[in-house]
């Protein structure tokens, strides 16, 4: 397995299967594996979200994810990392994104997973279109996401 693995796909995936495959590919000196799963969620429960469509910029997405994954490897001394991101139409509760990191100790695995998610949220060219009972709407960027990403810039 390559040290940094990036995949952008329309097909649905199962987080547990990805996690097990990621763990199986590891070496004997890996003690810590952290995973993050992002799910399609109903922001306010009574909002009536029916589905989400994720548009992306093919080509740029893959380039950005590879650059970010490589930076995470060196910056946090990771053994390996995986970034799996979907695009297209998804239903409520479906996984959108899966990130896994492995390291000798838990500190770097946790930090790297946080770092990768903060960058994915603010730099990767994905746009969310929500379908609700009232129609379609594009999701606005969250100011908190920008603040979260800013803390990694030294």
């Amino acid at each position: 397995m390559a040290r940094a693995l990036v995949q952008v796909q329309e097909m649905a995936f199962t987080p547990g299967e990805e996690l097990d495959a990621f763990i199986r590919a590891g070496r004997a000196d890996e003690g810590a594996v952290v995973s993050f799963t992002g799910l399609v969620r109903d922001m306010a429960l009574n909002d009536g979200l029916k589905a989400l469509t994720l548009e992306h910029y093919p080509g740029m997405t893959e380039r950005q994810l590879i650059a970010i994954a490589d930076e995470a490897l060196t910056r946090f001394g990771l053994h390996r990392c995986l970034v799996l991101h979907r695009y297209g139409r998804m239903s409520l509760r479906e996984p959108i994104v899966f990130v896994a990191t492995s390291a000798a100790h838990r500190g770097s695995a946790f930090e790297a997973a946080c770092f990768l998610m903060d960058w994915l949220k603010t730099k990767a060219p994905f746009w969310k279109l929500e379908e609700t009972a009232e129609g379609e709407r594009w999701v606005d960027a969250r100011a908190e996401d920008d603040a979260a990403a800013a803390r990694w810039v030294s």
């Binding site: 992002g38 994720l54 548009e55 992306h56 910029y57 080509g59 740029m60 380039r63 950005q64 991101h85 959108i96 994104v97 998610m117 994915l120 949220k121 603010t122 730099k123 990767a124 060219p125 994905f126 746009w127 969310k128 279109l129 594009w138 999701v139 606005d140 960027a141 969250r142």
Partner: protein
């Protein structure tokens, strides 16, 4: 020069992309935005609101001062909302 639009900027311009041949005065991203605004009034509206239109040249995020070459691929999009 190849221009691409994403998300609601794509809906406002009514196209996913277009080939444009801007006049000589169009030297950087800000110039191109003004030029394209003349073709797409609703794109001009979005550009007038600060911080709403982002740009990538050859698939790298850039600012409004970034210089342009005729072979560049230029993309305009709203702030990203991935993950």
């Amino acid at each position: 020069m190849k221009v691409r639009y994403f998300a609601w900027l794509r809906q406002r311009t009514g196209c996913t992309g277009e080939e444009v041949d801007p006049p000589e005065g169009v030297r950087n991203v800000a110039d191109l935005m003004a030029y394209l605004g003349g073709r797409h009034p609703r794109f001009a509206e979005a550009c007038a609101a600060s911080g709403v239109v982002r740009c990538a040249v050859n698939q790298e995020h850039v600012g409004p001062e970034h210089p342009l070459a005729p072979t560049d691929e230029v993309a305009f999009f709203p702030p990203v909302t991935g993950g």
